[in-house]
């Protein structure tokens, strides 16, 4: 009777055999990977011993060795913090909103750019929408504060258009998050179209021509050919973003735009870690929160890779 062998084991064995067989030809490639592995080990794995301070009452002056061990105290403090769940919720809300709006708008913009026939116009628009991506939030934050301030250009414009009261975009819990999302969109949307524009070039022109000959209009071609064509890319991007959800809230942006008047909606895990950890010098608590964030992030990445494998042909492992 034959022993049942799982498909995964078969694949594993085949891969190992392939590797050995190809080694004489491919060893230079493997050698070239070594620096990257060293980089990974030194900068990603070696510093991980620092997470020990999540279980200590760490003081830089005492160092890792002498700082007292406190078990899970930091995690308890984190959960006991009355605003922790509010901060957690803000992080998820801001991150999810940003991901969804950005990808939605990027697809629309890519489709619009794809329909533009005049290359000069198309390139000019592309350059203009890419530009904000290259500015850091330190710079953009200053620009936004200036533009959106009570005496800034946006409010001056609104006043001339008949709005009676200046809108305090960044000082009101109702308007802060929408402003955050809109400004994130403004900075990122151009850059985010690149992937979709690339995906659009892979759509078979013959299909489009055939559809046109069959009488499909522009919107029908988009709906039945182009959108299905870029769907795998969209799914891939969404899943990857989902995996990095805890990064997606955007520390740089929030830190440069928020203020105490909008803590209730703007305070996210990263800004909390910054205030408590770096400003309040509570490194252990900050590390504990960071560790929780990383573990959750790891779980999300695993889930997202599964989702990617399911929705697209792309498989990481």
């Amino acid at each position: 009777m034959m022993e049942a062998i799982s498909p995964a084991r078969v694949v594993g064995k085949v891969r190992a055999a392939k590797l050995l067989r190809n080694l004489p030809q491919l060893w230079p490639l493997y050698v070239m990977v070594i620096p990257a592995l060293i980089h990974l080990a030194l900068l990603s794995y070696y510093p991980m011993y620092g997470i020990t301070i999540a279980f200590q009452e760490y003081k830089p002056a005492l160092g890792f060795a002498k700082s007292p061990w406190v078990g899970l105290k930091q995690f308890r403090l984190m959960l006991e913090n009355p605003t922790f769940w509010q901060i957690f919720r803000n992080t998820i809300v801001i991150a999810t909103s940003k991901i969804l709006t950005l990808q939605f708008c990027a697809v629309i913009l890519a489709l619009m750019l794809n329909e533009v026939r005049r290359q000069f116009f198309k390139r000019t628009v592309q350059s203009m929408v890419y530009l904000p991506y290259f500015l850091s939030w330190i710079v953009l934050g200053g620009i936004m504060l200036e533009m959106l301030g009570s005496s800034g250009v946006v409010n001056q414009l609104l006043l001339r258009l008949g709005v009676t009261e200046a809108i305090i975009f960044l000082g009101n819990n109702r308007t802060f998050v929408p402003t955050l999302i809109a400004s994130h969109l403004w900075q990122q949307v151009g850059w985010a179209t690149i992937l979709y524009l690339a995906a659009l070039t892979s759509i078979d022109l013959q299909l489009l021509e055939a559809a046109a000959i069959d009488g499909a209009g522009r919107f029908q071609r988009i709906r039945y050919i182009i959108l299905p064509g870029i769907l795998p890319t969209l799914m891939l991007v969404l899943c990857l973003d989902f995996g990095l959800l805890f990064n997606a809230a955007g520390f740089d942006q929030v830190l440069n735009l928020y203020n105490p008047a909008v803590y209730a909606t703007s305070d996210i895990l990263d800004t909390w870690i910054y205030r408590e950890g770096l400003l309040g010098a509570r490194f252990s608590l900050a590390t504990a929160v960071g560790l929780v964030r990383s573990v959750l992030g790891l779980i999300l990445i695993v889930i997202s890779l599964r989702l990617i494998a399911r929705f697209t042909d792309y498989q990481v492992y």
């Binding site: 001056q156 006043l159 009101n172 203020n259 770096l278 309040g280």
Partner: protein, 597 residues
């Protein structure tokens, strides 16, 4: 006082005379240093006078050779100095927009460092620089984690200092201080206020750091106001908070600001409710309470029953917040003041959009009136005392005792050299008659027979490697002003030397305005101020809870002022504040207070 219009030349003169010279810069918030490698030969200079050492190197302060010149009289050289070969001392330093140099000078190699190296044989090596205190603390923490702390650590925070003492990282300077520090210039100066300047630097009776000292009244506020705007609305300078409200309202309603329509700011307010520039401290103070100073653990004042109370949860605080909320509704303060700090607010004041600014004399003159008058020659500023509120006239008492101490690395061998340098420099700072006011070509230049300040050279080196020339005695600035006024009265104008012309020639009245402001503050510092009585080191509980409590407080206060929360949200805040650790902290602080009393 009256001011005529301001030419660029006059403006520059004032800028250096008012801002550069004394270098105490009102903002007391940071200290910062200088030093680095230089290349002068000091091998055989022991036994020479300071003048003999400096003159051939072109490093003598003042302009002794100029016909109208000025001679700086330097003290006797410390024993066995300059050290040969020079010793290297590592120390970080602050750099910001006010740190400017002439010629090829840099933060790492400049006139101050060359002067220090030539005189004392101390070569300062700067491993890193910082702009704000937060950045310094982060870099210090990294340095500690990496086991690479500098020899001299200027202005480090109290809790970091405590941790370093606990970790056995700082030197005990008791013996070297006793043996080396000058009795007259250093030891006696630091005995100001019955030894209280040592409150943080001494641990269990041992001197573990050099104290940090501010000027008397340094960050205290007076009300700077646009006189020309008052004339336009036909009103008098306010003496009460209600009058201040009326004036502010009139400024706003008449839209006197130079910005786009509707952007006039009646009263400057800052995202730091209590701060030295545009802080609303004196408005709260009118109700007998004060919010925290930036994010520090304050303000704890006597509760009338022998204990201390936290002002932040007092019922009067609720009234103060409701009062400021009304100002916000009336647009007397900027609709988005909570996004603005010193730099943004200074831009608004200098852009002539602001009618009133609660700040101290340096902030009101150098960081307000000068720029404002440069942009609009018709702008006229003056100051009055802070207005009286329903309860009292009150503003923050700024203790000359600063929390940032100057610690030395354990095992560092050249503490005595730094203290000898401190003796020498303290004598200069405390002796205005020695006429130290910087270097030709760096702090000022000659234009025909007049002295014109240079925008560079505002980087002083202080007593022990700090920015700010007077970190030795709370009285030194006042002494300098008194000496200067005395000189002005007693020496005929045609006998003034170049330095005195630079300091006393005051066509705009701004220098006098600043001097009078300083003297006024020093005189009233103990009567019209609210004093935070808690100055102990933060406990573990406070370190654990304070950031969270501060967030709760900020969120509530700004919510109430901006109308996002009802005024009664204050009551709920008080309950939450107490429950979230505030009560426990208050109890600790009261135990400390009982022990102290």
């Amino acid at each position: 006082m009256s001011q005529s219009s301001l030419s660029r030349r006059d403006f520059l003169r004032q800028a250096a005379a008012v801002g550069g010279g004394i270098l105490v810069a009102g903002c007391a918030s940071e200290s910062a240093p200088a030093p680095s490698p230089v290349s002068s030969d000091v091998s055989s200079a022991v036994g020479m006078t300071a003048e003999e050492i400096l003159t051939p190197l072109g490093l003598m302060p003042g302009s002794p050779d100029h016909p109208k010149g000025w001679t700086t009289s330097l003290p006797d050289m410390p024993d066995d100095m300059p050290v040969a070969p020079p010793v290297t001392i590592s120390s970080f330093t602050r750099t910001d927009a006010d740190t400017r140099f002439q010629g090829d000078d840099t933060i790492y190699d400049n006139i101050s460092l060359r002067y220090i190296k030539a005189l004392f044989g101390s070569e300062y090596d700067i491993p890193w620089t910082y702009v704000q205190g937060e950045e310094r603390d982060q870099k210090m923490n990294l340095a500690m984690a990496a086991g690479d702390i500098p020899d001299l650590m200027p202005g480090i925070t109290l809790s970091m200092f405590q941790d370093m003492v606990e970790g056995d990282l700082v030197a005990d300077i008791t013996d070297v201080f006793e043996a080396t520090a000058s009795q007259q210039w250093v030891k006696d100066s630091l005995e100001w206020g019955d030894h209280q300047l040592w409150a943080y630097a001494e641990v269990n009776g041992r001197k573990m750091a050099f104290p940090s000292v501010a000027q008397a009244g340094q960050d205290e506020q007076i009300l700077f106001i646009r006189e020309d705007w008052l004339d336009k609305v036909g009103m008098e300078p306010p003496t009460t908070l209600d009058e201040m409200e009326a004036v502010g309202e009139a400024f706003v309603q008449n839209d006197l600001g130079a910005g786009p329509p509707g952007t006039t700011v009646g009263v400057m307010a800052s995202r730091d409710l209590q701060s030295w520039y545009g802080g609303l401290g004196p408005v709260f103070g009118g109700f007998g309470v004060l919010p925290s100073w930036y994010t520090s653990v304050s303000t704890f004042t006597p509760d009338g029953q022998g204990g201390l109370r936290f002002d932040g949860i007092d019922p009067k605080m609720k009234e103060a917040l409701a009062f400021i909320r009304r100002w916000y509704e009336k647009k007397i303060i900027s609709p988005d003041f909570f996004t603005k700090g010193y730099q943004e607010n200074r831009t608004e004041v200098e852009g002539n959009r602001v009618g009133m600014n609660l700040t101290h004399p340096w902030g009101g003159v150098v960081a307000s009136a000068m720029g404002s008058m440069q942009n609009d020659p018709n702008a006229r500023w003056n100051w009055v005392d802070v207005p009286t509120g329903p309860v009292r006239k009150g503003k923050n008492y700024f203790s000359p005792l600063r929390t940032g101490v100057f610690a030395f690395k354990k095992g560092f061998e050249h503490i005595d050299k730094i203290l000898k340098q401190a003796n020498f420099e303290a004598e200069i700072v405390l002796s205005p008659e020695r006429r130290y006011h910087g270097f030709e070509g760096h702090n000022y230049q000659w234009v025909e027979d007049r002295v014109e300040p240079l925008s560079g050279g505002t980087h002083g080196y202080g007593i022990i490697n700090t920015r700010g020339g007077a970190n030795i005695s709370p009285q030194s600035n006042m002494n300098s002003i008194q000496w200067k006024l005395n000189y002005k009265e007693t020496v005929p104008r045609d006998q003034w030397d170049a330095m005195m012309e630079l300091l006393l020639d005051d066509p705009t009245g701004l220098q006098t305005m600043q001097d009078e402001g300083w003297l006024f503050l020093a005189e009233h510092s103990l009567t019209d101020t609210i004093r935070n009585e808690w100055n102990g080191a933060p406990t573990e509980l406070q370190k654990e809870k304070w950031t969270g409590l501060q967030k709760l407080t900020d969120e509530t206060y700004f919510g109430i002022i901006t109308g996002q929360l009802p005024v009664d949200a204050f009551d709920e805040y008080v309950v939450t504040w107490k429950a979230q650790g505030g009560d426990a902290i208050l109890q600790e602080i009261n135990e400390w207070w009982a022990q102290k009393s």
